[in-house]
């Protein structure tokens, strides 16, 4: 998760929806591999990694997946 407008959205990125006001994108290649799954964006205790914005906050975003179709 990045602060808004801190990443250049590419032509192949796919807008999955909004969380509050924030758009939620997924990379095009990843979308192809994840499209048969339903994603739940959760916030849990812990520490985000990489350049994700929640890292210093004592929580992190976690994606849980369920099947919603056939691959």
């Amino acid at each position: 998760m990045l602060p808004r407008r801190r990443i250049e959205i590419g032509a192949r990125d796919v807008l999955l929806g909004h969380v509050g006001d924030a758009p939620f994108y997924i990379g095009g290649d990843q979308y192809e591999r994840w499209r048969h799954t339903r994603l739940t964006l959760d916030v849990v205790r812990g520490r985000g990694s990489g350049f994700s914005l929640e890292a210093p906050e004592g929580v992190r975003f976690l994606i849980r997946s369920d099947l919603c179709g056939v691959p």
Binding site: T37, G46, G50, F51, L53, P56, R60, S65, D66
Partner: protein
């Protein structure tokens, strides 16, 4: 043998309660005075605090690096090499201490840090100390009076962002070529594993001139980002997640600087039918090659996490491979008999468990493992996962995504072409393995797999002088080889005329 836990009687390592940044040859408190807790994955408990830096600290480090760069860049290669060799010698003299620390900070078994992480890191400094002595530019005589000289110059100050899976070794992979080539470095360790590199800084602090290596700790968004985005770095080297790699490239585009990236993988490990032709050493070697998915708890960008097995031997092979996997000893990472330790963080543990969950939901079959392990003796809250074998097919998410855990997804192939097609059906192209007794199959497979490194009848060897880097979305650049020097140098062309006469043009 079991090493004593750090800060207990008889321990090889004793940590301070708090660590600052290493800037200009000294330990410097973070400007905003903030620190973060650093837990050991072995026990899940915090053992020290580390500077939580911000852009101001990155600026201090860049000031120090820029102050040192002219002198370091002009230091003769022989002298730079001498100092790198000295760094290696000091590391060797403190090998056990650094190995135990790496185990405590990362969770990996001490067997591995003693035999691999540390010896490889030490050798890396020696390798590049040797390379820079033999490095030279080129020249061309363009005509009898005109000579074109190509001289190599350092880039100046570079930024390096280090991952948490082999904290000290990955730092060595980046530091050694950069320093050998005459650059000064601002390095940000992973916030999951900052401890050993700080012990290292203390050990080598008096060898390298102040400002040549600077270490700024903290989170990616607070410390990594200002480093990667700074107009004062001439290059950024990054190892980590593919998504972050994309951000690093974006930042680099703001300043028109080069990047080298070592990103994710989903490496195929191909087992051709002839490996079972004889019950001999080579059969055992191939089975060991399969079990390599558990090396470093699977937290390796080249983890052989997709095993593709010739359908002619699928049943027998998987039976033998499962039996071999069940013999992997999981336990206290400080015990030299332990083969698999703890995942590096609680977040990593949860991520792996969520992949195991989606694997089951997609219909993959758990052959062995598939669960968190609770060890006793104070390790109950450590982050342990049982080595896990899934059976399924290549379209499943556990076959396509980097799990970064001790999880292998096994499928079968029907003939050579199918093997290669499945091996290449991935976004990544970092590593691959090929196992066969047939040299023709071995060579053909190696050339047809789209990956930067194809281990052939071996796996997970990382010697200096064998280039390592990714095809496809696995990255840009080649490390662990002298060609990495080129990534830390720029070419100065002196085009010289020795003709005293005018050109006669104007």
């Amino acid at each position: 043998m079991r090493y004593a836990r750090p800060n207990t009687p008889g321990a090889k390592v004793s940590y301070e309660s708090r660590y600052d940044n290493f800037i200009g040859g000294e330990f410097v408190a973070p400007v905003k005075g903030r620190y973060f807790e650093n837990p050991s994955p072995v026990t899940g408990r915090t053992f020290c605090e580390v500077a939580r830096s911000s852009a101001e600290d990155v600026e201090l480090a860049l000031n120090a690096a820029h102050g040192a760069k002219d002198r370091w860049g002009r230091t003769p290669a022989a002298e730079r090499a001498r100092l790198l060799n000295k760094v290696a010698d000091v590391m060797e003299a403190h090998l056990e201490e650094l190995a135990v620390s790496e185990t405590w900070d990362n969770g990996k078994p001490v067997r591995e840090t003693l035999a691999a992480d540390l010896p490889l890191a030490i050798d890396h400094f020696r390798y590049f100390a040797g390379c820079i002595r033999a490095d030279e530019g080129t020249l061309a005589e363009l005509d009898e009076h005109t000579v074109s000289y190509h001289l190599k110059e350092p880039l100046g100050v570079v930024g390096q962002i280090i991952p948490w899976n082999f904290p000290l070794l990955m730092a060595a992979w980046k530091l050694a070529p950069a320093l050998a080539a005459g650059n000064c470095v601002v390095l940000k360790p992973a916030e999951q594993t900052p401890a050993t590199i700080l012990l290292w800084a203390k050990l080598i602090g008096s060898i390298l001139p102040p400002g040549v290596v600077n270490i700024v700790n903290g989170f990616g968004i607070e410390a990594g980002k200002p480093l990667a985005q700074s107009p004062r770095v001439a290059k950024v080297a990054f190892t980590g997640e593919t998504t972050t790699g994309r951000l690093i490239m974006q930042y680099a585009s703001e300043n028109i600087i080069p990047v080298t990236l070592e990103l994710g993988g989903k490496s195929p490990n191909l087992f051709f039918a002839d490996i079972l032709d004889h019950d001999d050493d080579f059969r055992q070697k191939a089975l060991e090659g399969f079990a390599m998915f558990a090396l470093n708890q699977g937290e390796v960008c080249t983890c052989p996490s997709r095993a593709l097995v010739d359908k002619k031997i699928y049943g027998t092979f998987l039976e033998l491979a499962t039996e071999r996997t069940r013999r992997i000893v999981q336990g206290d990472p400080l015990d030299t008999a332990t083969m698999i330790g703890a995942q590096a963080s609680n977040d990593q543990l949860e991520k792996i468990l969520s992949y195991i969950d989606i694997g089951k939901k997609e219909g993959a079959r758990v052959r062995t493992g598939g669960e968190r392990v609770r060890l006793g003796d104070g390790l109950e809250e450590g982050f342990y996962v049982a080595p896990t074998i899934f059976e399924g097919h290549n379209k499943m998410r556990i076959f396509q995504e980097e799990i970064f855990g001790p999880v292998v997804s096994v499928g079968s192939f029907d003939g050579f072409d199918d093997a290669i097609a499945q091996a290449n059906d991935t976004l990544y192209g970092l590593g691959a393995g090929v196992w066969t007794r047939d040299v023709h199959t071995a060579f053909k497979a190696g050339r047809n797999i789209a990956a930067g490194r194809v281990w052939t009848n071996c796996y997970h060897l990382y010697p200096a002088h064998a280039a390592f880097g990714g095809y496809k979305q696995s990255g840009i650049g080649r490390e662990t080889h002298r060609m990495m020097l080129n990534h830390y140098q720029q070419t100065k062309n002196l085009l010289v005329s020795y003709d005293p006469k005018p050109m006669g043009f104007f």
